[in-house]
């Protein structure tokens, strides 16, 4: 399953310098585990998002490796310490090689 839908993000638009912000992300994906069987008893091949990364101004600060135990429509929340204004880039990488990204900008006062 290629990633088609737009991921959903919750990122504060502004923060104080040094403030800890919580980032929440959600993307639509079946996360087919590879352990299920169809009606005829054939195994359904694995197809999951295997890597999620978050980067600020090009530098990755958080990385999550997902395995088949991650639920469908994966939700991920994590933290970032705001230092300067800039752009956050989130990347989801699918087993089939497709990649989905989302951006958010943050203003640090």
């Amino acid at each position: 399953m290629a990633i088609k839908t737009k991921p959903r993000l919750r990122v504060p638009s502004s923060a104080k310098k040094g403030e800890l912000i919580e980032i929440k992300t959600l993307i639509a994906h079946d996360m087919e585990s590879g352990f299920r069987k169809d009606k005829t008893g054939k195994s359904i091949p694995r197809d999951i998002i295997n890597t999620f990364t978050a980067a600020f101004n090009g530098k990755t600060f958080f990385e999550a490796h997902w395995y088949p135990a991650i639920s469908a429509n994966p939700y991920q929340s994590f933290y970032y310490r705001a230092s300067t204004s800039g752009e956050l880039l989130f990347t989801w990488k699918d087993d089939d090689g497709s990649v989905q990204t989302a951006k958010a900008s943050i203003t640090v006062a």
Partner: protein
């Protein structure tokens, strides 16, 4: 990049931290896991390391009605400075067909080594988390989750 994790490429292996690479290499024969085999593998992976407790908080429900969506929250106490931070947190479920659940890589910029996700649990089992600190210390936490309706499919 990591298009087929069942057969991790050499480049992938090198890119991961030592422990994570070891875990990925072991994953295929962890596939038919039981509580005992997972415990034995974890002992092999982290056996030489002193496992502390307390700094790593593993937050999972005691009872999960639906094994397809079980909230999983990890939180490690750490100043998260360039000298002293949490490098990684690995989560395993010892009753799942594929015991690895998630591996997080943190950096000092993360500010706080905490993350939440939702996972699948096939049956009642232990969830085990291991935190790897920048100074080489390890911390672990374990919690049993009772699952009413299993996830992962038939």
């Amino acid at each position: 990049m990591r298009s087929n994790e069942l057969v991790p490429s050499r480049r992938d292996m090198l890119k991961l931290t030592g422990v994570a690479a070891f875990a990925a290499a072991l994953a295929p024969h962890l596939a038919l896991a039981t509580e005992e085999t997972v415990a034995a593998e974890l002992k092999k992976l982290f056996g030489g390391k002193k496992m502390g407790t307390g700094k790593l908080k593993l937050d999972v429900p005691q009872i999960a009605e639906n094994g397809n969506v079980v909230p999983l929250n990890v939180d490690v106490t750490s100043p998260m400075t360039a000298k002293d931070y949490v490098k990684a947190v690995h989560v395993f479920a010892d009753g799942n067909p594929w015991p690895q659940v998630v591996t997080y890589n943190f950096t000092p910029e993360s500010g706080r080594a905490a993350a939440s996700i939702r996972m699948r649990l096939q049956k009642t089992q232990n969830v085990i988390a291991v935190a790897e600190m920048s100074n080489g210390d390890f911390y672990s936490a374990k919690s049993q989750v009772k699952v009413t309706i299993g996830g992962c499919g038939g």
